[in-house]
């Protein structure tokens, strides 16, 4: 099993107000079994040994479920490959001698904190605006499984709920639009009876917050669906569009 020599071109930015620039780093002895993040760990280890500032990047579970890792690698969110996050991207996807461009998510609503780390709290604020179900927790809980739900609806709601909020949709979208994220969060409740009582309020509030955060508009290019690590479908955006029309027209005030 051979090792690879790579050249990384990485966005370095010391803080939110720094202008930032692409910096070249050679990396040797890269195993094809490493994940992309492990490769960055190796580079950072070397930088620290040499007394340099290590490259800041987000990561947590490293098993594709937390949504922390980001990175725009060689022009694509989470790099080449489909249905994966950056921690699930392995170096066997690259060849010896490759030049790899690594940039942070780019969106006005996702300001750079440092290097490759961006502030994704805009997503949290959209969630807080309506991405929940108000449940009575005073001891008289109803068994959720006692409510009949058509299998297709349950499956579709689950598909929407697999969104990990990584922001690849925004990063990929030519308009920096957050429609796929918001649509997934709206759909996972809209499809279930437990979500219906607050459905109208939810979609209006979440879309309003999305617009406030400064995300772009949807051109239906479909890029988000392709790059989404969880394969969230554009059908959810259409559902949000329907929910929004219905809610706008029928809301009491």
């Amino acid at each position: 099993m051979g090792t690879m020599k790579l050249t990384l071109k990485i966005w370095r930015q010391s803080g939110p107000n720094d202008k930032g620039k692409m910096v070249s780093y050679p990396v040797n002895d890269v195993s094809e079994d490493m994940s992309f993040l492990e490769m960055l760990d190796v580079l950072n280890d070397e930088l620290v040994r040499n007394g340099d500032d290590p490259i800041a990047f987000d990561h947590d579970c490293r098993e594709g479920i937390c949504g922390s890792c980001s990175l725009f690698i060689n022009g694509e969110a989470h790099g080449p490959g489909r249905g994966i996050t950056t921690c699930q991207l392995h170096m066997r996807k690259f060849k010896d001698g490759d030049v790899i461009q690594v940039e942070p998510w780019r969106a006005g609503a996702f300001p750079v904190v440092k290097d490759l780390v961006v502030d994704r709290s805009a997503f949290d604020r959209i969630q807080a605006a309506g991405g929940f179900v108000s449940v009575n927790t005073s001891g008289n809980l109803v068994d959720g499984n006692a409510i009949p739900i058509p299998k297709n609806d349950a499956d579709s709601a689950f598909d929407a709920a697999t969104c990990i909020g990584c922001g690849a949709c925004v990063a990929t979208c030519t308009n920096s639009s957050a429609m796929l994220f918001v649509a997934a969060k709206v759909s996972q409740f809209a499809l279930l009876p437990q979500g219906r009582p607050e459905a109208r309020k939810r979609v209006l509030a979440m879309v309003e917050q999305m617009d406030k955060e400064g995300f772009g508009n949807c051109s239906n290019t479909g890029a988000c669906e392709v790059e989404c690590p969880k394969g969230i479908s554009l059908e959810h955006i259409a559902r949000m569009n329907r929910e929004y029309v219905a809610a706008s027209v029928t809301k009491d005030r």
Binding site: Q101, M210, N217, R239, N241, R242, V245, A247, R253
Partner: protein, 224 residues
């Protein structure tokens, strides 16, 4: 809130974009059906076309629809510019390297540019024929109708004028190739059973309509 939601929100702008866009698609069919009469270049065909042009500019119901059409064109263009400006603002720092072709078609990402080119064509097109028909100094044909046919034939005897039309129809084709199906998605009309059909109809529409439109100047140039 409901009021502003249906006018100002990001989703509402898309609804209006879709509704006006689909209305303009319907117009394209009517406009094409009428103007295919230009392919009949016999003296009798010329008189028929001029009579048709008179009907289209004077019949009250057509006039009402035409005002709706002008409003739709202006709104579609204005709303589109507004959306494009907001979208640019949403990404203040661009990527150094972007492999956008890996996940979307170029024409779906360039709707604003394609739309602007179509608008430029519309200005040329309406100045050339629509303005002349309404306020220009056209001669009368044997039936006493304004002789729009002769004006069109003269315009399409110039190679560069024909070229502008053919290129513009190619631009329109790409605009429709994304726009037709996209309008349905914006309106929330996405269904596993019907969306494949909508997409196929969209491709058919985007190819057939511009090709027939482009055929008119080419035909008139060849047979002049």
């Amino acid at each position: 809130m409901a009021r502003s939601a249906l006018l100002g929100s990001s989703l509402a702008k898309k609804y209006w974009m879709a509704l006006t866009g689909l209305f303009l698609c319907i117009f394209l069919i009517a406009h094409l059906a009428g103007n295919l009469q230009l392919l009949d270049m016999s003296p009798d065909g010329q008189l028929k076309f001029n009579a048709y042009a008179k009907f289209m500019t004077t019949f009250p119901l057509v006039k009402v629809v035409s005002y709706l059409l002008y409003a739709s064109i202006l709104f579609h263009a204005f709303d589109g510019i507004l959306l494009a400006l907001q979208n640019r603002k949403a990404r203040p720092v661009r990527y150094h390297y972007e492999k956008a072709g890996a996940n979307s078609t170029w024409y779906s990402r360039q709707m604003a540019l394609l739309g602007t080119l179509v608008l430029v064509f519309l200005v040329i097109h309406m100045k050339g024929f629509w303005y002349e028909m309404h306020w220009g100094d056209l001669g009368l044909d044997a039936d006493g109708n304004k002789d729009l046919y002769t004006l069109v034939a003269a315009a399409f005897s110039q190679p560069w004028y024909v070229a502008i039309y053919v290129v513009s129809m190619a631009v329109l084709a790409f605009h429709l190739l994304h726009g037709f199906a996209s309008a349905f998605q914006s309106l929330g009309l996405n269904h596993p059973r019907y969306t494949p059909l909508i997409k196929n109809v969209g491709v058919f529409f985007a190819v057939v309509v511009p090709v027939f439109f482009a055929l008119i100047p080419v035909w008139m140039f060849i047979n002049a």
